[in-house]
Structures are given as C-alpha cells and as structure tokens.
Symmetry: D2
Subunit: 354 residues, 4 copies
C-alpha cells in the first residue's frame, strides 16, 4: 500500500498460497517476541514451534503477556524430531556461544536457519575466539553461512540455507559507511563510530545496571575498546571496500527501551561536496525498501517498531559525519532476520515488514 511496498523486488517470485512453517528456538527473549509479532502479520509464514530451556517453558502468555490470545502455541523444550517435523525454517534466537551447539543438528535435520547469534558472522575463527572467549565448535560451517545484510549481500543470501543475522551495531554503522568505503571516499584507518542505544539491547535478564531506578535518568559508555561488534564491523567494511578497515567503536546506553543511533566520523580521501554525498547515498539506497534518506539527522523514534534504517551524511569541518538510526530489535535483529528468511524462502523481501 505504501511507497516502499512498490519496491518489492521482482526476481523473488511469490509461491501463491504456500506457507512456510517457522520455528523459533530460544523463544523467551526480546528478539523472539519481536519476531513473533512480525510473523503474526506475515502473509506466508506460519509459526509452528516455539522452544526454550526446559525451566523457561510454558504458555506463551505467561512469558509475554502481550501475546495472550494471539498465538496458540506453547513454549516447549527443543525436540529435534519435532522441529524437523513441524518447521521448514528456524529463526534461532539463542545467545552467542550457545547457538553453535544447536545449529549443526538443525542443519543436519534439513532445516534452513537464520541465526541471530554471532557464531557464524566472523570468518576469522581466531578473532571470534578472542572476542567471544570460547573455542568455536562448528568451524567448518562458518563458510556455509551468508552474512545477512541484504542491502549489501543480497545475492549471496539468496539460495543459502544458513544466514548469520548481523549484529545491531554493525547493521547501523555499516549501512552508514558502506557507500563511502565502497567508493574509497574515506580513509579506512581510524573511522570512529560513536553509538547510543536503548536497554533492550542488553537482553531480558535482570541486572543491577539495567534495573529501572539505576538506568532511568542515566547513561554511560561501555565496552571501551572491547565490544564484540567492532571486529564484525571491520570484517564487513573490509569486504565492502576490498581492503583492511579499522574502526574505533564506542557504544553507550541511554534510557529508552528500543532504538539505536550511530554518529560516525571519518576523514575524506578527497574533497566532497554535500551534493556528491547526497548523490552517492541516493545511488546506493534509492531502490532499497528499508533504507531511507531523510535529508537531515534521523530521529530514533522515526524508525521505532519498523525495519527501516535512516541515514544522513554530511560534511562538518572537513570531516564526513554520518548519522544512522534503526530499531535495534527490528532492523537490528528480528526484522532483518525475517528479511533474510524472505530471501532464502523466495518471498518478497518486504513481506510482513511494512
């Protein structure tokens, strides 16, 4: 009905009334409930199986009161045979390190998998093991996985059976930087990505830091020099730019539930006018259904509860400054996962997402 819907890409033909059966593994966190909400509106996807750790199972409305009366599935302990029987595709909402313990079996059972964790994102195992502090237990499968950022790697995703859904920060930062890096318009050494995000990004497990009275009217930088999304950004940007990229990534948490805003600073390699910047980004994203160019610094609320990423680039005092905003639970997680599911299932890329 809207404009963006008209951008639905032709090559992915609709399979009539065929429905895909979808399982969600790890159905008790924020990315899972967000995925469920999206799939309830998806014309070709049918939720058929929800799993979690045995101690977390039960009626879905006890876990998420929001879902009472909207879905007729309990959350059950994972049974691989049931998963294979009931589902065609698995959206894996397990945490890092845990996910690679389940993906091998799910794949062997013939299920397509979109994996929300970081376990299949980094091609360099040593980097993974350094930043995630565990041995990787499914190394050979890393090469099978597509990195699920459709705006950059659509052709590599279509046809795959395993997609590593990107991190929220890498999605936000890379969409802001890719056109510049691809055209070698910025120095690739020392890009600064300063970001703020809401509390839902830290997950649903209660902690003192994110207890309401602690984080309300508060905010702070964290993960100084050590955040796991830093090497992920560097890998993806290196792919885009065909050469090494270093990023100084500094995240902060601020008191909102959902939202993410990256403010990016880079040195231009040559003089760039605002007009050139505008043309560059319009050329890169003008046909993309989920990247918008508002022509001014984006607001987090404008992308809230949507799969959009709003990007604005400008020159300030000789530096390129890019603002990029998305909803960390949607384009930064669940929405992008459904976008990837659409691609590997042959549905319109925007199905369920507008």
């Amino acid at each position: 009905m809207g404009l963006a819907a008209s951008k639905r890409r032709g090559p992915f033909c609709l399979r009539g009334n065929e429905m895909t059966n979808v399982a969600i593994i790890g159905a008790t966190g924020y990315t899972a409930v967000e995925t469920i909400k999206i799939l309830l509106r998806h014309p070709q996807a049918k939720l058929t199986y929800l799993t979690a750790l045995p101690e977390e199972c039960g009626p879905i409305e006890q876990i998420f009161p929001l879902l009472r009366g909207r879905i007729d599935l309990p959350v059950e302990p994972l049974d691989l045979a049931k998963a294979a029987d009931r589902a065609d595709v698995v959206l894996g909402c397990l945490p890092h390190k845990v996910s690679m313990g389940f993906v091998p079996q799910l794949r062997q059972a013939g299920l397509k998998v979109v994996d929300f964790s970081a376990d299949y994102r980094l091609r360099d195992v040593a980097t993974y093991e350094k930043f995630y502090q565990v041995p990787h237990t499914d190394r050979e499968r890393i090469a099978e996985a597509a990195y699920g950022l459709p705006e950059l790697f659509r052709n590599q995703i279509v046809g795959k059976s395993l997609v590593a859904n990107p991190g929220c920060y890498p999605t936000c930062a890379v969409l802001g930087l890719a056109p510049l890096v691809r055209e070698k318009l910025i120095e690739t050494d020392g890009i600064i990505v300063n970001a703020v995000t809401g509390v839902s990004g830290a997950g649903r497990k209660p902690t003192l830091a994110y207890h309401y009275p602690e984080i309300n009217e508060n905010g702070f930088g964290y993960g100084v020099g050590t955040h796991r999304h830093m090497p992920e950004m560097e890998q993806v940007l290196a792919d885009v730019g065909s050469g090494p990229v270093t990023v100084l990534f500094q995240p902060h948490v601020v008191p909102l539930t959902r939202g993410m805003l990256a403010t990016i600073y880079a040195e231009p390699t040559r003089s760039i006018s605002q007009k050139q910047l505008d043309e560059l980004f319009h050329a890169a994203y003008g046909d993309e259904p989920f990247v918008r160019l508002p022509g001014r610094p984006p607001q987090m609320a404008a992308v809230s509860d949507t799969n959009f990423c709003d990007v604005h680039a400008t020159m300030v005092k000789g530096k390129v400054v890019v603002f990029s905003a998305l909803d960390n639970l949607v384009k930064g997680a669940a929405g992008q996962a459904v976008q990837n599911m659409n691609l590997i299932c042959g549905y319109p890329e925007t199905a369920g997402l507008l």
Copy 2:
C-alpha cells in the same frame, strides 16, 4: 494466524478484493498517525486523502518522520468535492467542537463517517453543552449516530453511516463495568473510576505541563469532578444497566507516552464469589476478539500498540475491584475507529487490527 483471528465473526462477509477508499480529516495529531499506521496493514482499506488546516499541510513525512516512504499522499486542506470523489469513508480526527462543523457536509456528500470527537456521543444536548461549553450546532444528527463500542453495541453499529467513536476513558471503564452493571451486581450510585494514562492522550500541541522535563518523573490528578468523559461513562452505563448510574471519575497523568489503566471500585448488591466474577466476565467477553481476561491485574505494556482491552475483576474487602487496561491511542481511539469502520463497511471486525 493467532487465536483471536479465529474469532472473526461470520455475519460480516468479506467482499473479495474490493477495497474501501478512506480519507482522514485532521491528519496531524496522534490519533491520525496511529490510524494511518493501522490502515497501512489493512487488507481492504486504501488511504486516498489526508487533510488538515491549511497552515499544517505538507508532505506527510515532514509532519510524521515515521511515515517517510510508507505512504504516497500529501496532507492537503480539506476540499469537500475531493473528499467525496476520492473516499468512501471518512475517519474524522478533528477535535471536539470542530468536528460538528464538518460532519454535516461530509454526510451530505454521501460519505460514511467514524468521528473521533465527542460531538455525537452524548444524546443529551444539555449535558454536552455544559461539559463542552459550546452550543451544539448539529443536534438533529446526534440521533443518527451509533455509539461505537462494538463489544456492547455491535448490532446498532452495523448498517450505520455515522459512528461516534467512544472516548478512551469511557472505553476502558465501561468494558470493565458493563457485565456487572448489566447483571445488576453492583450499586449504580457512586461507582469510583480511578484512572492513570500517558501523555499522548493530551494531544500533540506542546504545553508547559507536558514539556518533557515537567512531566518526566512527575504525575498528578486533573479534571477533578469536571472531566468530560464522566457524563459519557454515565450515559453508556445507564444504557447497559437500564437505569441511572453515577460515576466518580478521577483521571491522572503519569510519565509514559501511551497506555491507560482504570482501577474501579464498586459496592456489590449481593455476595459474589471470585468464581462467579470469573464466569460473568468469561460469559461476557469469551468470544470477543479484543477483550482479554488475563486472570490477574493487567499490565499497560501488554496492550500497548494493540487493540486489546485487558480486564480483571476481583473482590477486595467486600468491594468489587476491576482493573481495565488499554492503549489510549488504539483501542481508545484509532484501533476502535477502524473496528467500527470494519463493521459499517462489512469487513471482518478484526481486519487490520491483529
């Protein structure tokens, strides 16, 4: 796909691929943007015309950045001929007192109207004129309008061309009270409705009271003894109970954007057990797609961004206490309006709303 969808009522037959063209009059406030978001997902409604005061018109994305790229309509000054030409139904998001200046012409132009304002809700003109402090200028049309609370008046809405969409507080309170009043289980003199709500209910016009630093970490009672939704509740409950009802309604604003929670206190007319209360409410609402009975006090977040009203009734120290929660912008405004539009257009009542 969900449970509630299976409750879609049979008698309202789907007219195949037919689409209804919808205009929104007064398209710059919070109820309008909420209506637009719902209609973008509605399978049978097509937005064709958006209007506002001349000084507020312009591209929709300048008014609501959230809608950038999602809808291809400008906001224009109202032109009655255009409205009649482009639309079948008007969702009127004008404020009280203003709406009755436009509804006559819209109706004369043959348009069906769901009116968000209070102008056609109160049958007693004197009460309207006392609480709204203006002469009513379209008195004869009041009797034409159905009061659009489908859970109670569905049969009176179907077939109508003018629906007075209820106030947010009356929807919340009346859904909590109707089964008790209908069965004469509570004294109808001196019901207390204590409610809290978010700031969006006060509209989009900036004021000192709702400037962020003023209302953040704040909250207060207002409209003491004078709130306009009090006579509306009394009228509707009198209809339900076939006798006069008096309500002491006390609203409060608390620091959230959207949400409403009524806590209602009433004297039982006779001894009632929890089991009887449960049965009463299940009998009243068990088949309703948009009223849920969580079996415990509802949370505002569980109904946020949905058309649900969650209700829980219990006995405390000899009194009946009812909790009722809804999203003031959805079931309290835009969602209920679309529910009413579905009824008068012959669509499934839940279309676009689940």
Copy 3:
C-alpha cells in the same frame, strides 16, 4: 533561610556544636543512599559507621558512584562493638524480618534506633505474623517503639530510644486522612486508598518486573487485597480516630524512579463545604514544616527530593477526595527517619531537611 525554616520548633534546643555520631545498618539500598545524602548536609549529624552483609561490603563509591569523594567511610560487616563505640544513633535500613534480628542487640548496646523496617510498627503481633508470614522474634520490644509519624505523634516520639519509621504508603495516606478521621467527618468503614508510586519503592534488587524494558512504558496494580501497608494504615487511623477503621488499599507502580501519589475516596458523615475542608486542613497542618497545602491536586515532581508531603482535599459528587503526594524515598523513608532522629536527639526537627 526559607519560610519553613522559620517553623523550626523551639522546645528542641540545639546543643551548640555537639554532633551526633550516626551509623547506618544495611547501607546498600536506596533508602540508605538517600539517608547518607541527607546526613552529608546535616549540621549536627556525623556519619561514622556503615554496615552491610559481608558479600556486599566495600568502598562506598563502588556501591554508589554518586558518593565518590563525598564520604570517607567504607561499608563494613556489622560488628556490634564497633557500632557501640562509634555511634550514638543507628538508622536501620534493614528489610522487614531481618531488622528484628539486630535491633535487640543494638538497643542492648545502648544505641538509639530509628528502624526503617515494619518490624516494630504493628502493635498487634498476630496481624504482623499474618501479613509478614514469619513469627515475630522480639515481641516485647514492640511496645517500646514510637510510631514515627511526627505530624501526628510528635509527643510520643520525643524521648524515645526506638522509633518505627512508617511505611511510605501509610505516611502518604494517613497524612491525607488524619484530619478527617480525627474530626469524624468521614465514614471509617470502607475508605479507598488508590496509590501510584515509582520503582525505587521496590528496592534495589534486580527483578524481571522492574527491568527497564519491562516497566518503562508500563504500569500495573499489585498486592491486591494483600499489601502489608493496609493493616498499618488501619492501625494508625484507628489511633487517630479512636475507633476501628477499614481501608481498601490498592497500590500501582508506574514508570518513574521516585514519587508517590495517593488518591483517597471517602464518604462524608455530614455535609462539608470546600471552605470547611480548607479550614480543617489548615488547622491541622498550617504549622507543620513538612506538610504543604497547595490548594490544588499536588504534583509528584513538586515534592521530589524533598521531605514535604503535599495534600489537597475536595468534594466530588458527594464524596471526599483527598490527594496526597510525597517522595517515597524521603518523606516516605530516609527524610522522615532523619526527622525522627532529630526529635529523639533534641535537634531542630527540620535540621538537614530543608
């Protein structure tokens, strides 16, 4: 310097430059940090000892970064001999049930105690044991304790060595009701106290319910018919009115850190005018340094971070409606405790509190 300061009561003579040494037992929660902040500005109190459970001890700035550089005391495990040696008065911030395990020893060591817990508030042990679900282990000392609501029981507090600091909700509700109950202007059977409060009242221990993304943009009623502050209100009001009082108390949590607002509904025993109400409350509180009568419904932000309770009473549809607002951490806990400490130490009642 301000007006209220001029109300400092004469009979409590200032002991020149004498300082009272104060210990805080249970120094890791929200009421403790609030007490510390107040005592840092108190002209006659010197913090000399802070204790907590062994596993929670450490430098104060690691527990509360806000206090870095402002106080030169570690938090240590409680050592009774040290407490007796270093302090004259103990402000006991221990939770209910735990406190009565320590108060006997503290009192035997000669220390005056203001106890924040409920353990010495209820004179009826059976009620305590029913609502707190434990046997009371220090029954005989209950009678020694004064109930620390100075506006009502100042004369009973002065000279005592053990003060039971009232609950936040009882303070808020009772200050709103006392003048009416004392003058027998309202029916004492079936008073309704509806209250909202912020999240800090639930303490500092992280839980799912008060994890930021869960309670932000949320709110709900809790403790339906079972809240422990209900019998406390009834006991205190019975004392005030010299006869039994029943209260239906219904609390709610809303998304703010600190603040409390009670909206109270009562049946008048006879016709009362607004003028009579105003005179009644001015007579009751006109000389009180910490009760203000704003002449309209109070705002929670107007009492935030202060020891004030703002009260407004009015007639609505034949019922008396009283609004009462305070900061649950100050007048509802730490501030009132210091007010009580001032009374039992012979300092001006307002010392450190304006």
Copy 4:
C-alpha cells in the same frame, strides 16, 4: 563533612556571619530554579530579589510548585533601583542576546554579576556575531569579564566583578581535554567531541520537539556544524594550549531530564600509556573539589544533582578517548555559577555545593 569538603581552599577566608544578598534576574527558567535550590542551602547567601518579564511574574510557588513554602519572595519585574538596594550580587539567568541589555546597568549600579548567558564568553566579537546572529551591544565590557571555569581560571576569577559562566557543553568537554591540551599530548586540529544531553538543556519553553510523547523513546543529533558552544570550546582550549584548536562538536539529545556526557576522540602526539594518562589527570584534578576521576567511564546519574564533573581518559586503538559527565543544570550552569559567586565574594569555593 565529606572528603571533598576538606579540599576547601584556604586563601578565601570566611567572613564570619556576613551574608551576601543575592538577586536572580530571569527567575522563571530551569537554571534559575536550580540556583534557588542551591542558595537555600548556602550558609552565606541570602536570596533577596527575584525578577522576570512582567507577564511571567507572580508568587514563586505558582511558577515552581517545588518551592512552595521554602522561600518568601515573589517574582517581580526588574527595577534597577530595587536590585541595587536589595542585592550585592546578581546571578543573571537571562538568555543569550537579552543579557547584554541588562548587564551594563547592573554593573553601573555597582552589582557584581555572574552571567549565565553567552554574551561575555567569547572574546572575538565577530565570532559572537556570527554564531549568535546579532550585533554585540556591550563590546567594551567583554574584556572585563572572567571566563568562569574555576578549575582552569580560578586566579582570573577571584577579584572580578563580572563572570561569564561557561556553557554546559564547554564545561564538560574542556574539563575532559584541558590536561591533554595543556601538555600538548594531543593534536589540536580535529578533536571530536560527541555529546549527549537531557532535555532540560533546551529550556523551559514548550516546543513540539521536546513535547513528552515526541522525545520520550527518541533521540537525535542536532546543531550539526553550527552549535554555538563549538567556538567557545575552541577559544578556551586555545587559551589552555597556547595555540589554535579546532573542535568538531556534535551534540545529541536523549530522553532524560538532566545530565550530559561527552565522549571525546583525539589523536595523541606521542605514545601515551594508561599510567601516564592517569597520572596526568590526577595531577590536574587531584585537589579539585568538583572534578572526580572514577577510573572508568562515568555514569550521568553519578553526577546528577551535584556540582561534580566525572572524567575518565583512556587509550583505544591508538586514539585518546575521554569521557566526561556532569549535570547540565548544576556544574553546567547553576552550580558553577554559585562556585563563581563564592570565588568573587570570598567564600569557600564549595559553600552550598556539597
């Protein structure tokens, strides 16, 4: 009583019981109410006169309900003779451009002035006129004014009669950068200052952008390349470093009432270890009562409602990253103004501020 109090500097001798009479000009905004709250606890300052535009005058509790009963002064239209008669010092809370219309008369009347506006901060009139878009009407007085950042310019403030109280962002950024710039440890060309702040910084006048439902769950960058605090930072850092400095300053607003956090990125001029950074900052600020070094990224809540600025510097990927946090209304405005008032009146610098 606390540690920081022991840092009160000797040379500023206390004048016994002498009190300074203080007027606040422009007493209806957030910086004014914050100043009043501080002065109510100040041992040597007595508020004697409050003024505002005629249409904003009235009882102080009608303007700020928080102040009811705490201060016995109305807000009156400014009368120069009254000001001179009642006050020794004026804290000028007028906005930029307006202030320079009043300061000349106040100074001619013999009053000392601490001016919150930007009108006397920039020594280069052309820069002022470019960024503030008005002709400067009191040029000759600029040279008389001290720039009121005591941690850097204490000696220049003492003895002055006109102090330009610094902007909130410059205070925050400059305290984070000064030790590095002074020692020439960072390149002074191209320092990046990325900052987030709360909504109170935008003032008390209601606007759509800061209407609660608009900015709650939102956040955005603003003032891209044009913020007026950018040249102020550059001037002050140039003074500190004895050479030109360029700063790319990018502010953002996030949903909290008060708080500010600058994250600063700079190129080191030579290799620096963490130990060297720590020593540098301890040497610079170890004796300062209002700068704390928490040894990790500061939290905004840890400085909320205090005059502290918390700073942490570290090395990340070859760059120096500095975090600096303060309360924009206290150290960023009212608190720093009182600190300056203390200096020019000969009071302990921390009086009223701990």
